[in-house]
Symmetry: C2
Subunit: 456 residues, 2 copies
């Protein structure tokens, strides 16, 4: 008899992970080192410690330790909002009339509304442990800023968030939530930094950019006594912290006697996909493992149409050079509603695994197709998903429909990274039929490729 599988499974506190999983330790070919953009030499620890906390730099550069202990205070914070549920999408399966079994790991049940909190807690903890006064960061859509404000308040740290001015003006509620956790929030560009003042002098009416907000946040972090900078995606350390998603998932799946045939994640900077797939990717590196699918927006197709090359991590060109799938940091994606996927590159770790064939497939979706999937999912599973998460839903539905055609009862797992409560403008746009699809032309992509730094 098939074991009864509940709609939602929560691990107990005892079952929650005590260590993060470092995929890199299992890779024979490691991701290429970060380079100093001036010397083109591998970056050294002491070049990074003025920007990031020391322990986080260690984690960033550590590609040999398989498991890293989650500090006790971080474990305690995790217990407040985790474990997140692993859900069986019975109603979606019924709606699709598919023999596939669909599971999703739902990370949206916390005030940040997404998985971002998993890394924010770790960063705030290490900053506190190092005796720092505070952190700086940037935020676009606002989920990362919210997550870090929650974590900094909890550990008693100051936080300054540079929020892209356009978002700052359009999303007063996000600002209000961040302020509820006592963070300072400054629209970027601002007159509080040299970087901001320079942009304002040239473009006084600009609505800002993530690149400028990063430059401002980093400038304050390196120049102010007792401050460091925190970044919410792309970095190795972030993927390490996010491995808690995959570890919980694998534990819960094992309780059910399940192992996924397909693992699907949306991919912007790569933090969610990198975290969800972590333990299954280790299986893959050892010779077994499921099929992995990364889903990105057609408007910003870094894996499906980008180059695997050294590039700056930010638009402002102040970061080290990292080897990744990229559209070039000068490529400016069209404005889509899944702001969290609007990044020119992809986490170096995810990029390397894709390049070497361990991450099986990247595919891109148009945003109208994504909102078709989001709406169907909301109606049957009752959760209104974030537009970013809905990319994974789109692919999961497509795979389940294939199973119907072939009659295969595959086990499909995807990451539902967050809720769409702050994205209802996008849903309104979709419903009114006004949503447009943006697909860059080859010429538009060439513009970014032509401006890639010469580092290879």
């Amino acid at each position: 008899m098939q074991k009864h599988i509940p709609y939602r499974i929560y691990l107990t506190e005892e079952q929650m992970p005590k260590q993060w999983l470092n995929i890199r330790a299992y890779m024979k070919d490691k991701p290429d080192p970060f380079l100093n953009p001036g010397t083109l030499q591998p970056i050294q620890k002491e070049e990074l410690t003025p920007v990031f906390c020391e322990k986080l730099v260690d984690q960033e550069l550590d590609d040999t330790t398989p498991f890293i202990d989650i500090p006790k205070p971080v474990q305690e914070f995790y217990k407040i909002y985790r474990p997140s549920p692993l859900c069986r999408a019975y109603n979606l399966e019924k709606a699709l009339d598919t023999p596939a079994r669909i599971y999703y790991k739902f990370e949206g049940n916390n005030t940040s509304g997404s998985h971002k909190l998993n890394a924010a807690v770790a960063m705030a903890y290490y900053a506190k442990e190092q005796g720092l006064k505070g952190l700086t960061t940037e935020t676009g859509a606002g989920q990362w800023g919210t997550a870090l404000s929650m974590a900094c308040k909890y550990f008693g740290l100051d936080l300054t968030v540079y929020m892209v001015k356009g978002s700052y003006n359009q999303k007063p509620y996000r600002k209000a939530i961040i302020e509820t956790f006592d963070a300072d929030i400054i629209p970027s560009p601002s007159d509080t930094t040299n970087a901001g003042r320079a942009v304002l002098a040239e473009h006084p009416d600009t609505s800002g950019s993530l690149g400028c907000a990063i430059s401002e946040a980093v400038e304050v972090a390196v120049s102010k006594e007792g401050y460091r900078y925190a970044l919410g995606s792309v970095l190795n350390q972030v993927l390490l912290h996010q491995s808690v998603i995959g570890l919980e998932t694998k534990e819960a799946m094992e309780m059910l006697g399940e192992y996924p045939d397909i693992v699907i994640g949306c991919a912007g900077g790569g933090s969610n996909l990198g975290g969800l797939m972590a333990p299954y990717m280790v299986d893959k590196l050892m010779g077994s493992g499921p099929r992995f699918i990364a889903v990105e927006p057609a408007s910003c197709p870094s894996m499906t149409r980008g180059k695997y090359a050294y590039d700056f991590g930010d638009i402002g060109k102040i970061t080290p050079l990292v080897r990744m799938y990229t559209l070039g940091c000068d490529f400016l994606p069209s404005p889509i509603h899944a702001g969290g996927l609007r990044y020119h590159g992809m986490a170096p770790l995810v990029s390397k695994l894709y390049h070497d064939g361990y991450l099986d497939e990247a595919r891109c979706c148009k945003q109208t197709e994504v909102f078709d999937a989001a709406t169907l999912f909301a109606q049957y599973e009752t959760i209104v998903p974030a537009p970013e998460s809905a990319h994974a839903i789109r692919a999961a539905i497509d795979e389940a429909v294939k199973c119907k055609e072939t009659g295969e009862a595959k086990t499909i797992l995807f990451g539902l990274t967050g809720t769409g409560y702050f994205d209802m403008t996008a849903y309104m746009n979709y419903r009114s039929g006004k949503m447009e699809d943006y697909i860059p032309t080859d010429e538009e992509l060439q513009y970014g490729f032509d401006r890639l730094p010469k580092a290879d």
Copy 2:
């Protein structure tokens, strides 16, 4: 050794309630019957069935059956978003330095953002079972409209929501969520009903009222073939369905070896408090049980300053007369941010229990005090609460501080009915120092009392 108590406890599917609990069956003195406002005679079933589904009318009038089976399809829907977690507020306890143990039952982790879904599911199911085409309802803040739209979509029913025009214009995101679940949403007053047209003729620029929206929804329900009306609070049937909150809570508390000394709920229409306290109230009716505290806004003090009298349930005076604590249906409370508590009366069942001394205490709070508590709670427990729920938090904090003074390690339980993601305007208002407290004068209250119907 004290048993280890986790931060959050989730029941398994097997442990979830299979029956709702009907408090009235345990009362020696039953709540007074509803009266026909014309004849002043107790209302008969056949007077209610044109408005409500038949099974729901049975439940409304049934004051003898202690347990009523939860239909299997409703149980299945509950499993999608329930059980809700019972949380131990370790961090709040630490912040308050109190010996009290504070627990809260968190009902906000679903797309309606509140406990309202518990009753919506039941109502949609019974409508479907009766072979109806659809339901109508009204919504003010939007949580009830969202909940019923989710439930109707799930069971394949049409839904028309009359949303108070002021809210409709101010809260486009709520409208967008409701539309995602394919409900029709009409700003009230509208030209789709006689009631709406009459109001518009006299006040073309009105922003509407809940009273008018109810009148429109009921008019459509009784005049359209295959439609009935659904109400989200106040009624006996709603409190019955909401007993799932209390039943889950009691089961989880028993697993921990805990029994509350104090049970606290915010009270607007009474649905959350009535549901949370249900099994503990049965204990009280049997001679033991905890201390109960109902918390209401100072601006709308139906229990603390109202009269126990027969009154209309709505401002439009189209409902039966019900005996309850009321400020009079002509009393118009000042606009506060906790819109869900802005109701002139209190559920007849809650009112009766308070009148007879089983519900120990009602207290009222000013909204600035409530937002002090909401902010403290958010910062320590990481959940941004709905303004309504924050009334219960205020009282829980005050009780925990008393415990610090007396050294008593009491067990405090409160209901956290929902999240405040759609209430950030209120938080901004609070944070900017512009929030005002409204306390009606005795003269203002007298206006409502003078207009109470003569039925006693």
